[in-house]
């Protein structure tokens, strides 16, 4: 019996993988650039949402530093993938620092380097501040992300300061890249969460004193979760920079972090599938709601509600409804597994079955 469900799950996963690959192939080749762009954004938000959920949802560390990690990854990709011949035009105000002016990396090494630097920054900031808890940690990490932004503004010869960098080669606007990386990070996160480290993370989330009593090295595991989360966010930030084609310090204002906080709270703190679902809902939802921004004329009268900004009102309303009725997010802490899906359909069947017998009895 046990073997049978396992076999079924493997087959289902294989089928799903084929379907996803086919869909990506189809979307990449046949859909218009607008939809491809939104889907890419969904994938990138998934990556960063996962990284934030690893830290906040699974390890229970209330961190708000995601924009800082993203900024590091984004700037690494921007600086190192920028074609050499364009550098002098973009750094027109203050020439690029000669130490890095001649270094050009292709996309993958730059992306990985961005992740590594972000991970290292996470280690540097994590070592001192992870001793803090709750609100204090949130403030410290928020401060960290602001420091990164101020550094980017002032290191003119490396980051081009407030002017930002544009003409970043557009690699992530290809669904194989964004979705490929998102799927790899999804699998890595799932493996990590289900390993002994992941169980330790969850133990820390539930009660760190109890976890410590069980022999879990709190500091080591917290830093590990923070560094891995920072690495993922750095990679996500790199993809983000490449998708947009431009970076500037203002875009990494701390409000950027709240987008991802929204995604993980909506999806469920501590649910991988919830994060994936929520990033698609939030990103696609905002685009679908754009219809409400366009003027609508009914029988010659323009309905004044339909004006730019109205979509955001609807969006906030939807968020309120979700939060009211799913106070733990769409998925809570549960995952969307095959067992759950089959159980759900099984229940539907069994619900129907007693009904029919009831109907019979009243006869």
């Amino acid at each position: 019996m046990m073997n049978n469900t396992k076999k079924r799950n493997i087959i289902c996963t294989a089928i799903l993988a084929v379907i996803v690959l086919a869909l990506i192939y189809f979307a990449n080749n046949y859909l218009d650039a607008y939809i491809v762009r939104i889907l890419n954004l969904c994938a990138i938000y998934t990556i960063i949402g996962l990284s934030m959920n690893l830290i906040n949802g699974f390890t229970g560390l209330f961190s708000l530093g995601q924009a800082g990690f993203m900024a590091i990854g984004a700037y690494t990709v921007a600086i190192f993938t920028l074609p050499l011949d364009m550098r002098s035009t973009i750094f027109y105000m203050e020439p690029m620092n000669p130490a890095i002016a001649g270094i050009h990396l292709s996309f993958v090494p730059a992306l990985l380097l961005g992740g590594v630097i972000a991970g290292f920054a996470a280690f540097l900031i994590g070592a001192p501040v992870l001793r803090l808890r709750g609100d204090y940690l949130a403030i410290a990490t928020l401060g960290f992300s602001e420091i990164i932004r101020i550094l980017l503004t002032n290191l003119q010869s490396i980051t081009n300061g407030a002017l930002g960098i544009n003409k970043i080669p557009d690699n992530a606007n290809n669904m194989w890249w964004s979705f490929g990386v998102a799927i790899v990070i999804l699998i890595l996160t799932a493996l990590l969460i289900n390993s002994s480290y992941g169980r330790a993370f969850k133990a820390i989330r539930e009660d760190d004193i109890a976890a410590e009593a069980m022999g879990i090295n709190l500091f080591k595991h917290k830093v590990m979760s923070f560094v891995v989360g920072g690495f993922f966010a750095g990679v996500g930030g790199g993809l983000y920079a490449s998708l947009l084609g431009t970076v500037d310090p203002k875009q990494f204002y701390f409000t950027l972090t709240y987008n991802f906080l929204l995604i993980i709270v909506l999806g469920g703190m501590g649910s991988i599938s919830g994060t994936v679902i929520a990033s698609f809902i939030v990103t696609c939802g905002l685009e679908l709601l754009r219809t409400f921004d366009e003027p609508l004329t009914v029988a010659g009268y323009e309905i004044s509600l339909f004006r730019p900004g109205f979509s955001m009102v609807i969006f906030s309303l939807l968020l309120m409804i979700i939060v009211l009725f799913y106070s733990k997010g769409l998925m809570g802490r549960t995952e969307l597994t095959w067992d759950r899906i089959f159980n759900f359909f099984g229940k539907m069947k069994s619900k129907k079955a007693p009904k029919s017998t009831e109907g019979g009895s009243t006869k």
């Binding site: 607008y34 954004l41 973009i90 027109y92 003027p295 004329t297 004044s304 509600l305 009211l324």
Partner: protein, 390 residues
Amino acid sequence: MKKIAALLLALVMTASAFSGCKKVDTASGSTGTGSDTIKIGVFEPLTGANAAGGEAEVEGIKIANKLYPEVLGKKVEVVVADNKSDKAQATTAVARLIEKDKVSAIIGSWGSSFSMAAGDLVKKNKVPAVGASCTNPLVTKGNDYYFRVCYLDPFQGTVMANYAFKSGAKKAAIIQEVSNDYAVGLATYFKEAFVKLTGDPNSVVTTVNYNTNDQEFGAQLSTVKAANPDVIFAPGNFTESALVMKQARQLGITVPFLGGDTWDIDEFTSVGGADVEGATISTFFDDSAPVTDEGKKFVEAYKKEYPDKNMAAVSALGYDAYLVIIKAIEAANSSDSTAIRDALAKTKDVEGATGKLTFNADGDPDKDSAIIKEVKNGKFTYKDTVTISK
């Protein structure tokens, strides 16, 4: 039950927000849709941090659309997309305008960073874009499909340097909002021009920085005071700049302050009060003395449409951006995007509200004069027109 009550409350709240909207919008006319239309896309921040700027530009564009509703015998439809003051949303908004609405040309956006994010898209899809107030040189540099009607940071910086030199200043200090690309650009070119004019490499005695949202400028101002300049050039956001001036006067710094067009807004004088008296700026449009007939026409229409609003200069730029596109469509005699681009590149002496427009090779206007305004009795008043020979 509690949940339903909360939901109802939320509904009531949003409903009350709608009733507010209604009043504002009944004035604007409806835009009809038909097959014989030419669509011009507009992407501007209409929600979020930069909504005020975006709204002002859209006002100008709408007035232009009202005065010039037709081109080549076809109706011009303006499709507005909100970029939500967010870079990622700016790219999806532009992609939507291009792919879904199939616009012939695009206007936007307030905030250079949003325009920069859209740059690659308009280039790849060969749809020309005209920026209204995006002053960062990187927007049009190396992008054949991006144009703009505002003058750039280098020009404005040079204008103020000339003005400072003309008014007898030999030494200047710079206080710049370092996180603002606009302020940094102005400051850099002010310094370059001022050093050239005075012939003294040390004529800019000190340059100090502050960040957006800073409140306390004591440290920077003491540095400036110690350097003892004749004039202070302090480009930046209006709130911070007004605070800088207030605190400078308290420290006993009496030299005049010069700045950029961002100060030309009511909040600047209301925050600064008597301390900003005498502050001098360069700007591109003065609604009390429009330089062209087109400008007079625009001011008249604006006053009629929004009688109780103070006009922002960017509204005039939005108007000009629309006008330039209409003229290009006329010149190209086609609504084909590539043809419009080629016609835009050849734009010469098109009369706009802010002056005559001629695009150079980068797609920037060759404007050679700027208006100097000074705060007098708590109001910005016209002082001078400075012309720079290139």
